[in-house]
Amino acid sequence: MGLIVVLLFAWMLVIAFLAFIACTFEDLESDMGSQSNPNSQVQLAAQVGQINRFFNKAISGEPLSNALYCATAGTVAWLLLLKLEPLVPGEEWKAAVLAIPVGVLAAAMVNMIFSVTSHCGRTAAMKRFEQPIYLDVLYGHLLPIATHAFMTTFCITCIAYIQSNLGTLSGNPSLNHPFALPLLGFIWGITVGSIGSSTGDVHYGTEREFQDRPFGEGKRVVYHGKITRYADCGVRTQRDIAGFCAKFGGPVTGMTFGLIILFENWRSMVGMQLSGFLPALPVFTSTADMAAVIGIVMGLLIVAALAVGNLVFVRWVRKKCGPFVGV
């Protein structure tokens, strides 16, 4: 069976779609447990006397923790695939259907273990600020954290599986990515985490944690640590926050990662297609070099478009919002 170009593009779109889901849930998972940036305020809150019922999930930054889950899921899935694939010759996808969820389940359990240790450890280390460990907060957040992480890790492991078998799936195994499944999981785990941290937390860090402060201004240093501890009804926990972020912060973050994956794969594929590299795959020839050149040019065009877009957008915002008017 030769390479089917349409199939290649179809798989690329599947990957971009999975990336969208992955990063949306990644952002919500970190919101569910105050990881990364918002964690600094939860940590500070007790020190400035604001005892709270937030979950202190301090598992390093999001890139490393997501790399941990995705590499774990990728490794376990890969080990299972190694054992299961010979059982179903010719129909390897059957092995993947079982192996990937089992691997991701292992990663979700690792996530829960690390969440428990960080919440208990950090709270116990804040003894002098009189912050108690609320057991209902501890137990009540674990399952939401694990389910959100399951979604993220599942999508990323699927992406890694598709990419490491991309050529096989579309007809020519030499197009498979040179990295193994766990390494791809690690790479995309780091990327998804750094996007979830850098874009996603904005919507939570400024908005939800400081809801009783004025909208439309950056959070002044004097407000730091003085987080909003009461919800619409009763005392706030993080479960109130994920619902808020799911409306705007999560999807926008998901779109960021989806766009990155789409642009990255799309420019390579278009380069291969336009240069005539695709169905025959003449490696290490001038045609192959041309494919890379077109890919680079496409990438530069995308970057230029984004830079111009930012210029226009910032100008529009400055006109629309005007100078700072508060005190």
Binding site: N37, H203, G216, V252
Partner: protein
Amino acid sequence: MEPVLMILIVVLVVIGGLLASLGAHLLPVGGAPAAMGTATGIATGTVQIMLGATMTGLFTAASVATFSDSLALVALSGAVGATVMISVVMFMANILYVFGCGVVPISGRVDVDPITKEPQAPYKTPQTDGHGVPNVVFVSGMMGGFIGGLGGALMYYALLNYAGFSAGTAAIGALSIFVANAIIAAYNIRGTIEGFHDPKFKRLPFALATSLAVSLLCGIVVVIAATVLGGAM
């Protein structure tokens, strides 16, 4: 192994390490304060965003390295991949800052944007250090992503094709050397930086000197390993 090849490996690893350090200084990093609109830049740590961008670039560079043996094309593919990643992140972060928090993207370190000449100070919330990703910061971030991705892809290429490592070994080796340099740069930055217009950028030579020493030693280690094994990987 021929001496030319040995020197080439060391030179490429050193260049990659220096570029990693330089790229980390150019990225606009605001850390946790940026997530609250208290500081300008991307709301995460230097090492984290640098790694995220470089990994994206490395993914594309590794794909390109399977069908092209040109150093320039592999390195540029990695650089452009990292730039695409960082540009999308900065653009989408701006959308979140504006519609989610209602702040105008402005720089806290300069009064007038050096590129667009727009005034910054009147738009700034008192007691904060700027918010969002204004244009000068965007340009600096693009350069940082490009340079960082270039450094990572150069190291990957040197380890893959000159030292004769397998793809997996080359990737994790390049990542290890890269991350050491990026972390040393992060220690030099100490928290937040806006880019090339930031006063902290003047501290760059210190990080470059340290990076030079560390990557030189790492390059020599790689060359010794590659020579002893004689490409038997």
